[in-house]
């Protein structure tokens, strides 16, 4: 779901009137920036800091004096002396009607509210916060879905509000342009070029489309069965390359069920993840994981043993080499995959316990 940060004023300011109060803004900012700084509840679906504003969802419309129509605050630039209303009767009527129209074209649960999916549905929150207008008959749009052929990304057209955020992220941030808006009228949906499966496109399965989707229409396939409200979230650091992306590990019943990024703005990855960070966690729970100490038997095979015995055999074996061939006949190979503390302890083990500086990590390049 989209996360918007509150912009900070850095340069010279101009003044405008927002809901009757004087507020400051900076040249080049949008009305939405100002509203967020002022703490106004202006609902959005298609706004996201990492992509250019599009103004497609029409949720953030506000009333600007001198403008005949309501204007999308995400794309409308501030001007000195503007008079803006975010909660006038006209704005409220517009919002409620718009939400009614969204509901008519959205999969609903038993309470007639937009179904909760993935990591939450922003449309549902807007309906709960702002209410709806007239009941409109369901549209039952005949949308076709053709990106199924991939292991990670699930798309549910019935929950899509066509805000185009996933497509814009794919174009502007990941820059692989694997998905696009396709079709016309009520049939419009998110699709791939030539209707290929995602695996056969330029898609790099970064899952950014899932991360920005406001309604959960895009979700992690491996997490479909999991209810995010029951998940425990632990903030950690990704264990693959050297970028140091921050990850939220979602767990349930002692299993990792989903990986997301903390919100953009404060981390080195700025809300982004790659295919490895988001999806390559199957190894953690893999059946091949080593679960007990092993020692080499007389038959040449590796056999389970107790920790006590394994530690004893290892200690005796290494000490025997040291006695026979000298201190510097031992080598200690550390790992750039392990933590800093573990690397510290390994060099301490090598130097203090065994007396050799023959200690090196695996990737000293």
């Amino acid at each position: 779901m989209s996360d918007l940060t509150v912009p900070i004023l850095t340069g010279p300011t101009l003044t405008l009137t927002l809901d009757g109060e004087q507020v400051h803004a900076q040249d080049g900012e949008t009305l939405l920036d100002v509203c967020r700084r002022a703490g106004k509840d202006v609902p959005t679906l298609c706004a996201e800091d990492r992509v250019d504003p599009m103004g497609s969802c029409r949720m953030c419309l506000v009333e600007v004096e001198g403008q005949r129509r309501l204007q999308p605050s995400c794309a409308f630039k501030v001007q000195a002396g503007q008079v803006v209303q975010t909660d006038s009767d006209k704005v409220q009527r517009h919002r409620q009607l718009l939400l009614s129209m969204y509901l008519a074209d959205h999969e609903l649960d038993e309470d007639d509210l937009p179904r909760e999916r993935g990591t939450g549905n922003l449309l549902r929150q807007h309906v709960l916060n702002h209410g709806t207008g007239p009941d409109l008959p369901p549209i039952n749009a005949p949308r076709e879905y053709r990106m199924e052929n991939n292991p990670y990304i699930h798309f549910d057209p019935g929950a899509c509000v066509l805000c185009n955020l996933c497509v814009r992220y794919c174009d502007e941030v990941e820059a692989v342009s694997a998905i696009t808006l396709a079709g016309r009228g009520a049939k419009t949906t998110i699709a791939t070029a030539d209707q290929k499966g995602l695996l056969d496109t330029t898609c790099e399965m970064c899952g950014g489309c899932i991360a920005v989707c406001p309604t959960g229409a895009m979700t992690e396939k491996p997490s479909l069965a999991s209810n995010f409200q029951e998940e425990k979230v632990v903030r950690s650091t990704c264990n693959f390359c050297g970028v140091g992306c921050q990850v939220n590990l979602h767990t349930q019943d002692n299993k990792i069920v989903r990986v997301t990024s903390p919100p953009p703005g404060e981390t080195v990855n700025d809300g982004n993840l790659c295919v490895k960070g988001r999806f390559s966690m199957e190894f953690v729970q893999h059946q091949d994981r080593l679960t007990e100490p092993l020692i080499r038997g007389k038959d040449g095979g590796l056999h389970p043993t107790s920790w006590e015995n394994a530690l004893k055999v290892a200690a005796e074996g290494l000490m025997a080499v040291r006695q026979k061939h000298g201190t510097d006949s031992l080598g200690f190979i550390s790992s750039s995959r392990c933590t800093g503390e573990e690397n510290y302890l390994l060099q301490k083990l090598s130097r203090a316990a065994f007396g050799t500086n023959n200690c090196h990590q695996c990737a000293a390049t």
């Binding site: 991939n150 950690s236 650091t237 050297g242 970028v243 140091g244 590990l249 002692n254 990792i256 080195v268 990855n269 700025d270 982004n272 295919v275 490895k276 390559s280 190894f283 953690v284 994981r289 080593l290 007990e292 100490p293 092993l294 920790w307 530690l311 200690a315 290494l318 000490m319 040291r322 061939h325 201190t327 510097d328 080598g331 200690f332 190979i333 550390s334 995959r337 933590t339 800093g340 503390e341 573990e342 510290y344 302890l345 060099q347 301490k348 083990l349 090598s350 130097r351 203090a352 316990a353 007396g355 500086n357 023959n358 200690c359 090196h360 990590q361 695996c362 990737a363 000293a364 390049t365």
Partner: protein, 538 residues
């Protein structure tokens, strides 16, 4: 070079730069999130210069792409320096104030004209001129590189060449500039910082410095050896000889080190091997004892990323069965051999001990990292220090930085009539190093199920090879089988293979000759031949 081995600048600074010189880094695949920042900078109007033998994805959006012959970086960089000094584009003030040896450097590149370099690198002389001018005249210009620079028998010279460029143009100590090695693994930086090195204790304090030795002897309560140890590549070569026992934590050396046959022979010559890992792998075949370890999601600690950022790793799930966190096993092993390693209750206590002994990060603690959600970047000498985003802002931290003269010499193993193709190796987007983790990921397996060799259309056609066909790839050291992938990204005469597949281990081919200074092996250049496994059905 300037006093610390790390990115001089920070990853978030990339988006504000005006020029990126990316050399020897396939950033979109190896560091996808840094590549996103580069894409963002490009969108904001920054220029992008890419130098790589493979026409990588970034080359497609680059303003200037130089497809150099593998292993000729020194010639390219020398010619760029030549252009900068002959056209007077260097930063005189910075050179005078912060560097030494500029005259020697100028003399050393006087013959290195772009035309000379064109003959070696196959990059048009005019492109070299353009690159040099753009880099020298853009104020906010950063260099980004990775193992394509270092994994050569002249890797140190490559790095010197880049550092010279940075110094002569004064692109140091300023925002959005600098010299930025992108670290390949989550905690390469942190492992170096922590002293997993034959010459340094934690915090880059030399083992042969009596002051450092005395400090660590006092802290650890035992005598320590002042003799620098062997680095990994040297240890690999002495297995069975000087090295008779190994303790290996979290690396599949048999798969990851170059020249597999020699590594395997060496492993067989060892008296005793202990491996501590999360899966059985190629190396555990030689182990006498295997300790089951916890993976990153099952323990606490810190990782330090490419831009010196110390960040927390937190336990999310329990380790399977009897597996234990690596730090506990190390303590228990030390105690089992009679060394009184303290009974640390939590990695935060280990970190505190390390920080206390290491001025570079003595201001960092687990407690502080709870409050600093975006991590703390060293140098961070005291608990009030906010960390360092851009290094060397008051001039190089070693004082005056010396220019290092370099001279081009060819890679150790060049193609000949028996082995006519030049092989480079690397990582793909979907897989990670020895593949124990990503070969168990369904998406990665769906995208790239088996080892492959990228080859240019002309080289494939010349040998009558079709896309997808299995071939035998041989070097002087070994043979592996891989599928042909005809790729427009490849230069004629060059082939490329990934490293992730134990059943077709590319390192059976690679050369273990090392750089004379760092001993880093030449993974990026060796000579091979490619032959059809069976004749193409035609």
């Amino acid at each position: 070079m300037f006093g610390a081995g790390a990115m001089t600048n920070s990853i978030p600074e990339i988006r504000g730069t005006d020029l990126m010189f990316v050399i020897g880094s396939n950033t979109t695949e190896a560091h996808p999130i840094i590549a996103m920042e580069m894409k963002r900078a490009k969108k904001n109007g920054a220029k992008l210069i890419v130098a790589d033998p493979r026409r990588i994805w970034l080359a497609d959006i680059a303003d200037l792409y130089m497809q150099l012959k593998p292993g000729t970086d020194v010639a390219l960089l020398s010619a760029m320096m030549h252009v900068i000094v002959t056209e007077g584009l260097h930063d005189r003030e910075f050179v005078d104030k912060h560097t030494t040896g500029f005259e020697d450097l100028v003399a050393s590149v006087s013959e290195a004209t772009p035309e000379w370099a064109e003959g070696i690198t196959e990059v048009p002389a005019e492109d070299i001129r353009t690159a040099a001018r753009l880099y020298a005249t853009t104020e906010k210009a950063g260099i980004y590189y990775t193992l394509g620079i270092t994994e050569h028998s002249h890797g140190t010279d490559n790095v010197y060449g880049l550092a010279n460029l940075v110094l002569m143009t004064g692109h140091l100590g300023k925002e959005n500039c600098g010299m930025n090695p992108l670290r390949g693994q989550n905690n390469v930086q942190g492992a170096n910082d922590a002293g997993a090195s034959p010459i340094y204790y934690a915090g880059y304090q030399r083992v042969d410095d009596p002051v450092a030795q005395a400090k660590f002897e006092a802290a650890w309560g035992t005598e320590l050896s002042p003799t620098p140890g062997m680095n990994l590549n040297v240890m690999m070569k002495h297995m069975g000889g000087l090295i008779r026992g190994l303790f290996i934590m979290g690396e599949d050396i048999v798969l990851s080190e170059p020249n597999t046959e020699r590594v395997e022979a060496g492993m067989n010559g060892l008296d005793f091997v202990v491996v501590q890992d999360i899966f059985l792998n190629e190396t555990t075949r030689f182990a006498d004892v295997v300790f089951p370890a916890a993976c990153f999601a099952e323990k606490d600690g810190v990782f330090t990323n490419s831009d010196r950022r110390v960040q927390r790793v937190r336990k999310a799930v329990d380790a399977p069965g009897q597996a234990r966190p690596d730090w506990q096993i190390l303590v228990q092993l030390a105690q089992a051999v009679g060394y009184p390693m303290p009974d640390y209750q939590h990695p935060s206590e280990v970190y505190a001990e390390m920080a206390q002994l290491s001025p570079k990060f003595s201001g960092i603690s687990h407690e502080r990292l709870e409050d600093n959600v975006s991590g703390l970047q060293w140098p961070c000498p005291d608990p009030e220090h906010p960390g360092t985003v851009t290094m060397h802002s008051d001039g190089p931290i070693i004082g005056k930085a010396p220019f290092q003269t370099i001279a081009y010499r060819p890679s150790e193993e060049l193609p000949n009539s028996d082995f006519p193709l030049l092989l480079s190796t690397g990582r793909t987007l979907y897989h990670y190093n020895s593949g124990t983790q990503t070969r168990r990921a369904s998406g990665a397996v769906a995208k790239q199920p088996e080892n492959f060799i990228e080859i240019s259309r002309r080289d494939a056609r010349k040998r009558g090879l079709d896309d997808g066909q299995l071939v035998r790839v041989s070097s002087r050291r070994g043979t592996v089988i891989a599928a042909i992938n005809i790729s427009p990204r490849m230069k004629r005469g060059c082939v490329w293979m990934p490293l992730h597949f134990p059943e077709a281990n590319t390192n059976r081919l690679t050369n273990d000759v090392g750089d004379p200074v760092t001993q880093t092996a030449e993974f990026k250049v060796c000579a091979v031949r490619v032959q059809a496994l069976v004749q193409a059905a035609k």
